[in-house]
């Protein structure tokens, strides 16, 4: 199988696997964003909801694969279109099941706890690993500066899925350091974002540490990718390394969520049911928290009732703007 097909196929399969496992990412009492009695999953309605959702995902995933294999050679956009349709159908099925199951919803008692301590909360020790990618980028910049004359006059900085170059940069400060500046922006944004989640969520949220770990892994991927682009004239990372790390992070996250939530016995999510729109969007102006645990189990989501959430949403625009400004 050639690379033109393999990369989008693997991405498509990963996305379908993530979508397919959504009912198992949350603890037993939460299904499609609705808090339900503990035995609901084994009832007829619960089994049916899971079956309908997974059938929709499986059918759209298989149809997507079919179209990719048949039409990829004719239309470049087929993989994006097929995966996009699958995602839209998957989330529509989620929202539809959320609406159906609301009739069975229970509202857990919104009891909240406050620890009367002013001790500053310590970040996990591994958070310092989030600064190493910046060191990698700085070291790359230093190396390039020291070997300026060895850099080719014109070199590739962008490749298609087969590995063929389709974008070039000259030996100018913008062309040489641009990828590193962009990588620094991405890394800093990811690091800042992970800290905002840490400090902007309640201490009782069980996924704070794992999510911080995932963001640090993503930082490493972003920094290594941009260092690889900038340093191609001198060093090449193995082709499978970065996608391999990404796939490992996704699979490990899914496995962790399934394992953790299956045996979870702690207090149930105390956010009011009526503040969850479609089981996905949380809007509660009366709750000052910025990030809450998602009800589909996959990490955190913003409290759209908090005005700062719009600042967080707008922050990636800064990265995009930087890209245009330093484009070689």
């Amino acid at each position: 199988m050639n690379m033109i097909l393999m990369v989008p196929l693997v991405a498509h399969l990963l996305m379908s696997l993530a979508l397919f496992s959504i009912p198992y990412l949350t603890r037993r009492e939460i299904l499609f964003g609705v808090v339900l009695p503990a035995d609901f999953r084994s009832r007829r309605e619960g089994r049916r909801a899971i079956r309908v959702f997974q059938t929709t995902v499986a059918m759209s995933a298989i149809s997507g694969l079919f179209f990719m294999v048949l039409l990829r050679s004719r239309f470049d956009a087929v993989p994006i279109f097929a995966s996009g349709v699958m995602m839209v159908l998957g989330f529509s099925a989620f929202v539809m099941q959320n609406r159906k199951l609301r009739a069975f919803a229970i509202q857990p008692r919104p009891v909240r706890e406050l620890e009367l301590s002013t001790e500053p909360e310590r970040l996990p020790r591994f958070v310092w690993l989030g600064l190493v990618p910046l060191v990698i980028l700085a070291a790359s910049a230093f190396y390039l500066g020291a070997h300026w004359d060895d850099i080719p006059e014109r070199r590739p900085v962008q490749w298609d899925v087969t590995g063929q170059p389709n974008g070039w940069a000259d030996r100018t400060p913008e062309g040489v350091y641009g990828p590193l500046v962009f990588g620094t922006g991405m890394t800093l944004w990811l690091f800042a974002f992970s800290l905002v989640i840490w400090y902007g969520s309640r201490r009782s949220e069980p996924l704070r540490r794992p999510v911080l770990g995932v963001f640090i892994a993503l930082e490493w991927v972003a920094a290594l990718m941009m260092a690889d682009v900038a340093m191609r004239a001198f060093i090449r990372l193995p082709l499978a390394l970065l996608p391999g790390i990404l796939i490992a992070v996704i699979l490990a996250s899914i496995a962790y969520l399934i394992k953790t939530n299956r045996n979870s016995r702690g207090p149930l999510d105390a956010t009011p049911n009526e503040c969850w729109k479609g089981g996905i969007i949380y809007y509660n102006p009366g709750d000052p928290v910025l990030f809450v645990g998602r009800r589909d189990g996959a990490g955190f989501t913003l409290n759209m009732g908090n005005p700062w959430s719009w600042v967080v949403i707008g922050s990636p625009l800064l990265i995009t703007l930087t890209t245009f400004l330093i484009r070689p």
Partner: protein, 130 residues
């Protein structure tokens, strides 16, 4: 490591959150779990953890400051202060007696036997003395 005291509030209980926070903190203050000099969490952090508006926590802190339990200084947060016990007036005692009777009636109405109520009152009072 000794764990810090904790308070709980129930948003749906029907009792205003300000009162729940002030009452829960007062229990910790009276029982000595919060000693003079202890710094309370900032209004921002407390509000976030409890899922209530900042003003709700600030108001609860002000109530306790007015009772002489807390020192509130701008930029320094809320600190527990040494409070001299105050002599309750006859009116105060009559008011507490009425509230106790109301509470006991609620407990009886919920099926708690009189002996159990007496035990609970006794152990609560002993907890305050220790």
């Amino acid at each position: 490591m000794k764990s810090s005291p904790r308070i709980h509030i129930d948003i749906d209980s029907g009792i205003p959150a300000t009162r729940q926070i002030a009452d829960a903190l007062r229990v910790q203050l009276v029982e000595g779990a919060l000693r003079p000099g202890t710094q309370l969490p900032s209004v921002r952090r407390a509000a976030m953890e409890l899922g209530v508006h900042f003003n709700t926590v600030a108001e609860a802190y002000r109530v306790l400051a007015a009772e002489g339990w807390l020192d509130l200084r701008h930029g320094r947060g809320a600190r527990v202060v040494d409070r001299e016990p105050r002599a309750a007036s006859r009116t105060d005692i009559a008011d507490y007696r009425r509230r106790l009777r109301e509470l006991i009636s609620q407990m009886r109405a919920r099926g708690v036997p009189p002996g159990k109520i007496a035990d609970e009152l006794r152990s609560s009072a002993e907890g305050l003395e220790s």
